[in-house]
Symmetry: C2
Subunit: 246 residues, 2 copies
Amino acid sequence: MKLSSPVASDHRLPRYQRLHDEFSARIAGRQWKPDEPIPTEAELAATFSVSIGTVRKAIDALVAAGRLERLQGSGTFVRRPKFGSSLFRFFRFEGREGEKLVPESRILKREVIEAPQAVAAALGVAVGSPCIHLNRLRLIDRQPLLLESIWLQKSRFNALLEIDPREFGDLLYPLYEQYCGQVIASARETLTAEAVGSRNARLLEIAPGSPVIVIERLALSFDGQPLEWRRSHGGADQFRYHVEIR
Amino acid sequence: MKLSSPVASDHRLPRYQRLHDEFSARIAGRQWKPDEPIPTEAELAATFSVSIGTVRKAIDALVAAGRLERLQGSGTFVRRPKFGSSLFRFFRFEGREGEKLVPESRILKREVIEAPQAVAAALGVAVGSPCIHLNRLRLIDRQPLLLESIWLQKSRFNALLEIDPREFGDLLYPLYEQYCGQVIASARETLTAEAVGSRNARLLEIAPGSPVIVIERLALSFDGQPLEWRRSHGGADQFRYHVEIR
DNA sequence: GAGTGGTCTAGACCACGGT
DNA sequence: CCGTGGTCTAGACCACTCA
């Protein structure tokens, strides 16, 4: 089997597993780009000298993992990460009539500051290295919902300093991509709860000491490099999280 | 294809899908019992007059859903529900040395009481119908960790009233199975957070008004009947929940 | 060694999407 | 209509478990 990219793949592994790793690398390496079709199953089978069934099994796993999407009759496509499973979706992101919407964003602060210890550890940089720090308030129907503290490595995101924060818009990740060439591919989130401090209580317009949900997110590039770390607070009464257990 | 049990299964569906439904029904109907092997793939293929590949595809889905477990060389087994994905596992269930353990259980109250509105709705019974209500405290290293309010339909769980609560042991579900013949097969959980009331604060030995995680669980039988509803409180500082997002 | 699931093949035919 | 993925088959051989 010939591999177009130098993937460390043990030849004792099953073929479908090696194919899976190869395809996965092509998605990560952006040789197969989001929203574009990958080669047909028959082409892949011929390219790698395996049967179609084996190609299908490799693709099955990537579809199950949400990295590819099959469309019968038209092809198999690289799925753009949608963060559909983020914990944030369990906040009430609805307007007055219950329709889903993107919260309005207000940048409260933008500063260049030396990375404190916790941030440095999360981003994998040295303590004290220069970072961009944003404070952002997110609102639904003019009501404060979430307060976010966002940390970025200055060297990667310098371009952000040249834009007026009032023109950031409501979503940051498209901004990162457009101005800094940094694409967020995945994230890890941690949920905790605590009593809100007086400053955050004022900004969120809730009673001091009332419970808030705290979500920490480390957002990563395609190759697993930490790009952004954020810590978000939101009133606990705006949050409900569901799971099914079998 | 002959079906041993009367499953409503549209014959226009793919064969593997119909097989999946049939197998699923056999697990739910306990014709295939937990920890026992199901017939071999070859036998199933012969029984249903399909090829082994089709049987495998049906089994694949049930394995992915955690209902079956394959053991190469020995067979495919019905998996006993393990509740491994419960939100409760994100509480610190460790002893002093960090080892995982089952919390000690202390039944604080057992009463027969008419179902209040919320309980009746969850259990699918009439408001005011007789229920068994338990209050239970769960402790690690003698430290209170969780406070649980548990509701059961009296008619199904009458046998519980004949046992001394001090002999309940640390786990309820085996008790339900042994004394009442009621088997918990799945559950739905909802996580919220709130400020703790004074009574619960005293029992949990935390400051009044401090944040608590609240987990509501509706536990279901194999055929989807609600059997138990519980509402659990635990100090938020004991809780951390993680997810990966793609 | 007999029997289980695990991998893989090469082909057939179907259902769907676009042209 | 052609090309795509979706279903299904009948077989081969491998890897593992257990007696």
